[in-house]
């Protein structure tokens, strides 16, 4: 774009923004009078600016929320010291912000197990002491998780130890394969060693389906020996 037309655009813009000086105004008037193209650019820009401005202001009026009463606009005002936030009917709150107004303890409680739901339904006794429900929930969840991890269920293979299993009976958590014992199947010459590639795994065991239906291959990572195992239960 030529510098002349860019200067003209600047003059027109300053005119529209009421930043134009008297000398600039006379220059602009002279240019418009002498150049029809400049006059057309001026008219286009003025009309466009007027319409866009009107559209913006009209859109703002439509989008403007109704006036917020101080007592009803939670979230727009700081909480008064010593007072709990009000939970009365809210005005002028955007739909997405309504979720912020919900009681924080209600949402997760209903998703928990029935055992915890009983705790929730017995909350009048607990609420008498004003216990924070979310902390109680977290504590119960942590206790349950600890039970699973620290007190693993005892499992043993059928028939006691296997003579070929020098490792003996070993308790396993829910996240490790069960004690196999006699579940080991005799090695079959026809069984082909699976092509398993491990890269930087910290697992001790891998369980992968065997080509034979109902059989799984339990691969101990730190050893090269592979045995085929028939597992009768789903773990």
């Amino acid at each position: 774009m030529s510098s002349g037309s860019e200067d003209l655009e600047h003059l027109i813009s300053r005119f529209l923004d009421r930043e134009i000086t008297a000398r600039e105004r006379s220059t602009l008037d002279e240019t418009i009078r002498s150049d029809p193209q400049a006059a057309r650019l001026f008219a286009q820009t003025v009309e466009l600016d007027r319409r866009v401005g009107a559209a913006l202001r009209a859109a703002r009026e439509r989008a403007a929320a109704p006036p917020v009463e101080p007592a009803g606009a939670a979230g727009l005002h700081p909480p008064e010291p010593g007072l709990r936030p009000r939970r009365g009917p809210q005005r002028a709150v955007a739909p997405a912000s309504v979720a912020l107004q919900r009681h924080p303890a209600r949402l997760p409680i209903r998703w928990l197990t029935p055992g915890l739901a009983c705790v929730w339904h017995s909350r009048p006794r607990l609420c008498d002491r004003r216990l924070p429900m979310r902390w109680l929930t977290l504590g119960l969840a942590a206790s349950l998780a600890g039970l699973f991890l620290l007190v693993p269920p005892q499992r043993g293979g059928p028939g006691g130890r296997s003579p070929g299993n020098s490792e003996g009976v070993r308790a396993a958590s829910l996240f490790a394969p069960p004690v196999l014992g006699d579940a080991y199947l005799p090695d079959s010459a026809a069984a082909a060693a699976p092509q398993v590639r491990l890269e930087e795994t910290e697992r001790d065991w891998l369980v992968i389906p065997s080509p034979q239906p109902g059989e799984f291959l339990v691969v101990e990572v730190n050893r090269t020996q592979i045995r085929r195992v028939g597992i009768q239960q789903d773990f």
Binding site: E19, V52, L56, A59, R60, A63, G75, A94, L100
Partner: protein, 190 residues
């Protein structure tokens, strides 16, 4: 500048009261500055349907950070900074920034019947056409343009709020109008 407190000397008192948790002072701050805060947010995101939620976040941040404001005279620029940052974060999260469309907006505005944008405008959809053009502006052009039209601020006031020299504000307004003219040249007839 619109929405400015009539008594500048009262501003430190107002801010100090709001910092102490005075509800009336906080209400007054929201009333006096809520309008232009919305305009600043709209200038960044370009969509009115996003403004309300972002403004809620802005005021939440304002109340939590207000004690850190040491100079009450800088309240407006501080508020503008909080509002812009919140709007930018929201905009980045949505990734709604549209590239500059130097070719006519006609191709994107033609409706299913294949009418031209001029025809669409004549059918009473001019406002939505214009608003979409504003939304399509790059954010650094849209901000001063929106503030100029919605708040009637001068170049200096816009520059102070956005941290820009006056010449830069003027240049960005010129380029915003140029882009709008390119996008809407078939929609607007003088």
């Amino acid at each position: 500048m619109q929405d400015a407190p009539a008594d500048v000397d009262a501003l430190p008192v107002l801010v100090a009261e709001a910092q102490r948790g005075n509800r009336r002072a906080a209400d007054r701050l929201v009333r006096e500055h809520g309008g232009w805060v919305r305009s600043v947010v709209f200038g960044v995101v370009g969509r009115w349907d996003l403004v309300d939620d972002i403004v809620q976040q802005v005021w939440t941040q304002v109340w939590s950070r207000l004690p850190t404001l040491k100079d009450p005279q800088r309240l407006r620029s501080w508020l503008c900074s909080v509002a812009r940052n919140a709007a930018i974060d929201a905009g980045q999260a949505r990734q709604r920034r549209a590239p500059v469309a130097l070719e006519p907006l006609a191709d994107s505005l033609a409706d299913e019947s294949g009418r031209s944008p001029l025809r669409t405008a004549l059918d009473g959809e001019l406002q939505s056409t214009l608003l979409r053009a504003v939304e399509a502006l790059p954010v650094h052009y849209r901000e001063p343009f929106v503030l100029r039209h919605l708040e009637d601020w001068s170049y200096q006031q816009i520059g102070e709020m956005l941290g820009l020299p006056v010449e830069t504000v003027e240049t960005r307004l010129v380029r915003a109008r140029r882009l709008l003219r390119e996008m809407l040249k078939d929609a607007i007839e003088p």
